[in-house]
């Protein structure tokens, strides 16, 4: 698994990360969340497949409370897709790969 392709993002660098015109998917997670762990391998596989076409980041909601608050996140895992600083769509729950592919394709 090429987990190094999924980088961490913090409240501080969030705005600059989502400003990219390459679609960017943020995986909001926490260490105490089982389902977050469950989708980990899927997210990593997608980072590999979409290399160059979309970037995937993880945000730890324990360490970064501001961004999840701003987007009204009440459940994790939540994955939000951004393009050029704008939110495109989001998914909550440990969904399957196909649903995440559908999500990313909305911005490509």
């Amino acid at each position: 698994m090429a987990s190094d392709k999924v980088q961490s993002v913090s409240d501080a660098d969030f705005d600059s990360v989502i400003a990219s015109d390459i679609p960017c998917l943020i995986d909001f997670w926490a260490p105490w969340c089982g389902p977050c762990k469950a989708i980990g391998p899927v997210v990593e596989a997608l980072a590999d497949e979409y290399e160059g076409r979309a970037t995937i980041y993880k945000m730890n909601v324990d360490e970064n409370p501001a961004t999840p608050g701003k987007f009204g996140i009440r459940a994790i895992p939540t994955l939000i897709l951004f393009k050029s600083g704008e939110k495109v769509d989001q998914i909550t729950g440990a969904v399957g790969k196909a649903q995440l592919v559908d999500l990313i394709e909305k911005a490509i």
């Binding site: 926490a30 105490w32 762990k37 469950a38 980990g40 009204g72 009440r74 994790i76 909550t92």
Partner: protein, 309 residues
């Protein structure tokens, strides 16, 4: 070329699958365990487990899953991440198709695909998933600090997680369709003694309403009275549905709800195919049962393979 045929394939890595994996690895069987997410399955959704023997202080679901995985791996469990989308069990050599287009085959199969939380199926529920509707208190409780939330259900999961939610929420209202709880007595006692939990009996939720997030629930009492309850969140913990989308249910003689019947040795009606854990057609779904069934399934499989050769 990568191996594509195994004497035994185990599908699913919850407590049943991991125990089956442990037994298969220790028996030095030619085996593979396929898990689609993370090892642990629904245990990962459980805050705290006080009824799995060997842990006198209790253990978090997360840690139990990690320990089970580590134990199986100590004996060289052969596992992979993959998503099985269909199975052909009509011949002695069973074929599994994965979502990446690959196929695997095996002489014997243990189905441990488990179950997932059941939804209410009421208006507004889907729309507000992640915005106030949750099926995992362990995951989402910290987002409800000092708020008022509802829990729907009356079984162990609902009552135990209601208590967990009080660590964060100001108030937890448990809504149950009967006039008494189904949860184990000690779990009930704790909930009744918890001043942050109140109860709405003989009632069901008929709608989830709000604007950007959940704001209120519509509630119907069995006496026909309707009411509303203002809450910021609703945790739906009303039992499980089988993870059976990849199974040939007709061939396996699936029950009315889609679970798989077996004999007491976990054998299904197809020779060489066992089912263990929550996917089995049964009354009691506990971690300790699932683990026991996983062990039974491997021993039944060894018998089957011995007679095959």
């Amino acid at each position: 070329m990568a191996t594509t045929h195994y004497a035994l394939i185990i599908v699913g890595g919850g407590p049943a699958g991991l125990t089956a994996g442990l037994y298969a690895a220790r028996a030095r069987m030619d085996h593979l365990l396929i898990e689609k997410g993370a090892e642990g399955g629904q245990v990962l959704l459980t805050d705290w487990i006080d009824n799995y023997p060997g842990f006198p202080e209790g253990i978090s679901g997360f840690e139990l899953a990690e320990k089970m995985t580590a134990q199986a791996k100590r004996f060289e469990l052969n596992s992979m991440f993959g998503n099985v989308i269909s199975m052909d069990l009509s011949a002695p050599v069973k074929i599994l198709k994965l979502d990446n287009g690959e196929s695997l085959s095996c002489d014997s199969l243990i189905i441990c695909t488990g179950a997932r939380p059941r939804a209410l199926g009421v208006p507004g529920e889907k729309e507000f998933v992640g915005k106030g509707v949750s099926y995992c208190a362990t995951c989402d409780a910290p987002f409800y600090r000092n708020l008022h939330v509802a829990v729907v259900g009356g079984g162990n999961t609902a009552v135990q997680e209601a208590a967990h939610l009080t660590k964060f929420a100001d108030k937890v209202t448990l809504i149950h369709r009967r006039d008494e709880l189904r949860a184990t007595k000690i779990v009930q006692e704790k909930a009744f003694a918890n001043t942050k939990i109140d109860f709405i009996w003989n009632s069901t939720v008929t709608a989830v309403e709000g604007k950007d997030g959940v704001e209120q629930l519509r509630i119907l009492n069995t006496n026909g009275k309707e009411s509303t309850l203002k809450v910021e969140g609703i945790f739906v913990l009303i039992g499980v549905l089988p993870n059976n989308e990849m199974l040939p249910l007709t061939d396996l003689n699936g029950d009315e709800e889609g679970f798989i019947p077996t004999d007491c040795e976990t054998r299904t009606n197809i020779p060489g195919v066992m089912a263990a854990g929550d996917i089995r057609s049964k009354e009691v779904r506990q971690v300790v049962n699932a683990a026991g069934e996983g062990a039974t399934a491997v021993l039944a499989t060894e018998n089957y393979l011995t007679n095959l050769s």
